[in-house]
Amino acid sequence: MAPIDLTGYWVSIVDEDWRFRMVVPPPGDYNGVPMTAEARKVADVWDPSKDEASGDLCKAFGAPAILRQPGHFHFTWQDDHTMRLDVDTGTQTRLFHFGDWKAPAGPPTLQGDSVAVWEIKGGRGPQPDPNAPFLNVDDPPQGKGTLKVTTSHLKAGYLRKNGVPYSENANLVEYYDMIREHNGDLMLVVTAVVTDPQYLREPFIVTSHFKKQNSDAGWKPSACTVKW
């Protein structure tokens, strides 16, 4: 059994790294990314016009970066062993494979091959303090379990829109946790760890958060872009 139910629509809350996510940051602005010298050489010659000319528009929409794109995220079950994540920004689809899944042969892809497992968590703690200003709601989802997704076989792309690269040697591990906030909002917290021996000096760790929607409001599939 899935310990938490991720299905439905989620929207990005963009109050961190705003200038790296909502707009394209300046060329050469690498704040926070533990890049290698080789990565810097690659990023320093980033030219969006070249990506545009070559038709390579989706390099910032690969699995290691897609959750940082401001957008709407739709989780469904494709079948009993496959969770599907559709993203409207860039119109991307990720598939999370459970069980004894074998990746097909072929070239690396933008969203890579993702293997998923549930990490089941423990029981319930004591009741909350009745004098606290916000009572925990009944049956909060936090702490019941985590979806862990490991992604490899990635086509090279950008960690950020301004050409900060990851290579085909990159790996991505993500932890999906759900939280019920005081006002009843369901939040999804995703901790993403990108390792890349070629372009990163240490694992690149970012945590993104999303709010659950009751409908597909705002769902607006759009094409990949390089200058916006």
């Binding site: 059994m1 961190e16 010298a37 401001p70 703690g125 909060p140 760790i205 945590t207």
Partner: protein
């Protein structure tokens, strides 16, 4: 919900049988901050006019725009900005340990050690109530915690006014902070919201991750030490309405339109991009605070 495979189901059943009624995990250790997100804000400090993504109300925005960084040179205000929210948006890691009852050995509190400018956070786990709403507030505030499975949820009240972002965006002393501590092996994810009826229209969320390190991280002593930088008493550095000289800084540096820089709940959501799309062009090459250490 759907059954995915029988082995997984068996594991769930077995785990369910073996889990104690009150599940807790060990949060103790030295947790290093990586600052891979919001690096400028956590390090050198945010641009003075960068209020993007903050769900300000008009009071919050007006308060922020009146702020002069020179205020922290005033002895009266030098320590006035660092509430427990600094744990979420500051630069340092966290030293965490548990305090136990000497007789029963049970955990009475989890403690997130202080830094040089943030008071320690003592998360009481023994069921004691929050103080009366009329009780005095402090830089430390008052925090209680509960376990939801393996997630520790802490609620902090009774803080003094502090900063929301280190450029004058403030929280009031009516703010409540709720922090979830989520451990994944050697990674500790903190997911926090701050609710402030005085300056915000919606909760403001920050998530960040820390990494367990074998290097001992000592907790700090008293939070902030008041110093005298020679600022004469009798005036509070500030900007009158419409007179903040930094209002176009991120517009010049990053081509972010001024209306986005001023924040507001709309700026938290993806749809806001549609409003500024036609006003944006890629800015010129980064020339300062570009983020890489010397030699790279």
């Amino acid at each position: 919900m759907m059954t995915r495979n029988p082995i997984g189901l068996l594991a769930v059943i077995l785990l369910g049988l073996s889990v104690p009624a009150v599940a807790q995990i060990d949060l103790s250790g030295s947790w290093q901050s990586k600052n891979h997100e919001d690096a400028l804000e956590r390090g050198a400090g945010p641009n003075p006019d960068d209020f993007t993504g903050i769900p300000f109300n008009e009071s919050g925005r007006a308060k922020a725009l009146s702020y002069s960084q020179s205020q922290i040179s005033m002895p009266e205000r030098i320590c006035a900005f660092y509430s427990q929210w600094h744990m979420m948006v500051g630069t340092f890691g966290d030293k965490i340990w548990n305090e136990t009852d000497p007789v029963t050995g049970k955990t009475v509190a989890w403690v997130v050690g202080a830094w040089e400018d943030r008071a320690k956070m003592t998360i009481w786990m023994d069921g004691r109530p929050h103080p009366s709403k009329n009780a005095p507030h402090s830089q430390e505030g008052f925090t209680t915690g509960v376990w939801d499975g393996d997630v520790l949820t802490a609620t902090t009240t009774h803080m003094l006014s502090g900063y929301l972002r280190r450029n004058g965006a403030m929280t009031s002393d009516q703010a409540t902070m709720i922090t979830h501590f989520i451990r994944h092996g050697d990674i500790l994810t903190l997911a926090a919201e701050i609710v402030d009826p005085v300056y915000l229209t919606e909760p403001y969320y920050i998530t960040r991750s820390l990494v367990l390190t074998p290097n001992l991280m000592n907790a700090g002593g008293p939070p902030c030490i008041i110093g005298d930088e020679g600022v004469p008493s009798g005036s509070v550095p500030h900007y009158l309405p419409g007179k903040n000289p930094f209002l176009d800084e991120i517009t010049k540096l990053y081509h972010i339109p001024t209306e986005a820089a001023l924040g507001g709940v709309e700026t938290m959501y993806p749809a806001y991009r549609d409003k500024i799309k036609d006003k944006f062009t890629i800015p010129p090459k980064c020339s300062k605070n570009c983020g890489l250490p010397p030699g790279l």
